[in-house]
């Protein structure tokens, strides 16, 4: 401390230093502000274009201008087109998220608190499943889904999201349960609690954050899925990602409808992020195996 104070006297006086710091500080905010604009611009454009009328949106030269009169016609029009797909996505993502979290919780409990010889290796082998490119299983998957009568069904997609969700949901719950002290489990065991008793009385009450993380994660991945849906469903069962991609790929659909549709597609997961961002982040970190 004394040393650093002595050193600072040999540097330029405190006044210019303070000014320099103020300039540096402004530069930091300026840069952050510029970065924020970069991240926000696409969403701004989505919303702004979506609120334009057809005639206004048609003039590309004025695409950055604010709408003359805000109109929600584009959203209404886009909603008419894609609301069945929006519903399909909900029918896929909600059950998939709920069932995945239950299964993940049980798996995680066993792999954290009922370890057996080879269970760690088994866990490692399960983990690999969350990284594979699905292109390496897509052809057999299509065959199996067809043979089981699940091709082009919502149920088929729900099952697929649950199965390929097993690695990450198991991982999140296992790492979460590992943090619960062994003494608690041991004490409960001494009191005569068995497999289910320990789960119900010790782990489950502490599991709420784990469930929130997994529910959010699975909901988001199922909602945002494109590859499984485009391969395994036909037009009547398309979720919203496939519908929006189709909307955007068609030359006859005006920009304002495309943008409104894209915003509608993004809304549920955006809302989840805004309301439960902290838990969202934890799921992301789990995806890097950091739990």
């Amino acid at each position: 401390m004394i040393d650093s104070a002595a050193r600072s006297t040999s540097l330029p006086g405190p006044r210019p230093r303070l000014a320099l710091r103020r300039v540096a500080r402004s530069a930091v905010y300026l840069t952050l502000f510029a970065a924020a604009i970069f991240y926000v611009i696409p969403v701004y454009l989505l919303f702004m274009t979506g609120t334009k009328t057809f005639a206004e949106a048609a003039n590309q030269a004025l695409m950055w201008d604010l709408p003359k009169a805000a109109s929600f016609d584009s959203f209404a029009e886009a909603w008419r087109t894609i609301s069945p797909n929006f519903l399909n996505s909900a029918k896929i993502a909600i059950p998939a998220a709920v069932l995945s979290s239950i299964i993940g919780s049980v798996n995680g409990y066993i792999l954290a608190k009922w370890r057996f010889r080879g269970s760690e290796t088994l866990f490692t082998l399960i983990l690999f499943g969350m990284f594979i490119p699905y292109q390496s299983i897509l052809i057999p998957l299509l065959k199996v889904e067809s043979a089981a009568g699940l091709y082009n069904t919502i149920t088929g997609l729900v099952i697929i999201h649950i199965i390929y969700g097993i690695p990450i949901t198991t991982l999140i719950f296992r790492n979460y349960y590992v943090g619960i002290p062994e003494e608690l489990v041991e004490a409960s065991r001494m009191d005569g609690a068995g497999f289910f008793g320990i789960y119900r009385h010790i782990l489950l009450p502490l599991s709420i954050p784990g469930f929130v993380v997994v529910l959010i994660w699975q909901f988001t991945s199922a909602w945002n899925d494109f590859l499984f849906a485009v391969t395994l469903t036909g037009q009547d069962n398309w979720p919203i990602t496939v519908a929006v991609n189709n909307l955007a790929g068609s030359f006859s659909v005006a920009w304002n409808i495309q943008m409104a549709g894209a915003l509608i597609a993004a809304l549920p997961t955006l809302l989840v992020y805004i309301l439960l961002g902290k838990y969202f982040m934890r799921g992301l970190l789990a995806g890097s195996l950091k739990g």
């Binding site: 970065a35 454009l45 009922w114 088994l122 052809i139 890097s288």
Partner: protein
């Protein structure tokens, strides 16, 4: 004790369905894909007769697939490096006890909640030459062609660098096959928009974990802020960098949704990838065996990156 044994059996029985599902749907189906890739199933009759490595020979000698591999490498390098640089930069800015920290953090992170499809649809419009950024910034749409630009930067064989390469026996590198397609950079931009916030969050968490005393000690020893960062902070961030490279890398090796929504294959396959080649081959052209071969090649690429990482990660945890 008997109670414990019964519970042990219950625990294993309850794990069986999940383990079976993974065994069948991950490992079983990978094996099945490998088998298909070695067969003659290249039309709707799905003839599973053994065909050796013919499908692999066929895809690797296909120019489109060669370009896809080039694109995968170029995209991965640019996407990973740009995301790391931007993420690290933003994390350092945010780590300066700034005001409205959580607002900035949220703004940098929210693209992660959006699907690659939505990102692709928006960025397609932002980078369409007749619209988007060209209009906003007043750029000439005939020279700023973004993802419609067919240009591939490569070392010309008759240039100085080309002669040099030829001189050291690497003349084969002086072709567009080892070049950088300009159109690909538009996809990189959109992907960086979506993923750099994730890297920022990873770095920020790590920066917060570095004790202030360490920096203080460095300052007392007379280190400048840059030296402090370069010699003390950056080395401590290495594990996070590894994690980020693995996560971003495996996403970029599988890239599909974004490309489908934004550019499709692009001019001269400038924005084509193995994933889109696989889908078209298998599900549009019914060449299942070739499609499976592409899928297996993708798996090998991802596994090369991921398997050592998983093992490293598990060992670290075991050591803890």
């Amino acid at each position: 004790m008997r109670r414990l044994n019964r519970d042990r059996v219950v625990s294993i029985l309850l794990l069986v369905p999940a383990v079976l599902a993974i065994a069948v749907f991950v490992y079983g189906m990978i094996g099945w894909s490998v088998w298909v890739s070695l067969s003659k199933a290249n039309d709707l009759s799905f003839d599973m007769a053994f065909n050796g490595l013919a499908n692999y020979q066929s895809i690797f000698s296909n120019v489109r697939f060669q370009l896809d591999l080039r694109n995968t490498v170029v995209f991965t390098v640019f996407f990973v490096l740009a995301s790391l640089a931007i993420g690290l930069f933003l994390a350092n800015l945010i780590d300066r006890r700034i005001r409205a920290e959580s607002l900035f953090r949220s703004l940098f992170l929210f693209p992660l909640a959006i699907s690659f499809i939505v990102t692709g649809v928006v960025w397609k419009w932002l980078l369409t030459p007749s619209a988007g950024f060209n209009i906003l910034l007043g750029l000439d749409q005939s020279t700023n062609r973004w993802f419609t630009d067919p240009t591939v930067l490569y070392i010309a064989p008759d240039s100085g660098a080309g002669h040099f390469l030829a001189g050291i026996g690497l003349g084969g590198l002086a072709t567009p096959l080892f070049g950088i397609p300009i159109a690909l950079l538009s996809l990189v931009l959109a992907a960086v928009w979506q993923m750099s916030g994730f890297v920022m969050a990873l770095y920020l968490a790590a920066l917060r974990g570095i004790p202030e005393e360490l920096r203080e000690a460095g300052r007392v020893d007379g280190a400048s802020e840059w030296q402090l960062f370069r010699r003390i902070i950056l080395p401590l961030l290495t594990p996070v960098t590894v994690t980020a490279v693995i996560i971003l890398g495996h996403i970029s090796l599988k890239i599909y949704d974004l490309q489908q929504a934004m550019t499709k294959q692009g001019p001269g396959f400038a924005t084509d990838f193995p994933a889109s080649y696989m889908w078209q081959t298998a599900f549009n052209d019914n060449q299942f065996a070739k499609g499976a071969a592409v899928g297996v090649v993708m798996l090998v690429m991802v596994a090369t990156l991921i398997v050592p990482y998983i093992i490293w990660n598990r060992r670290q945890e075991a050591a803890r």
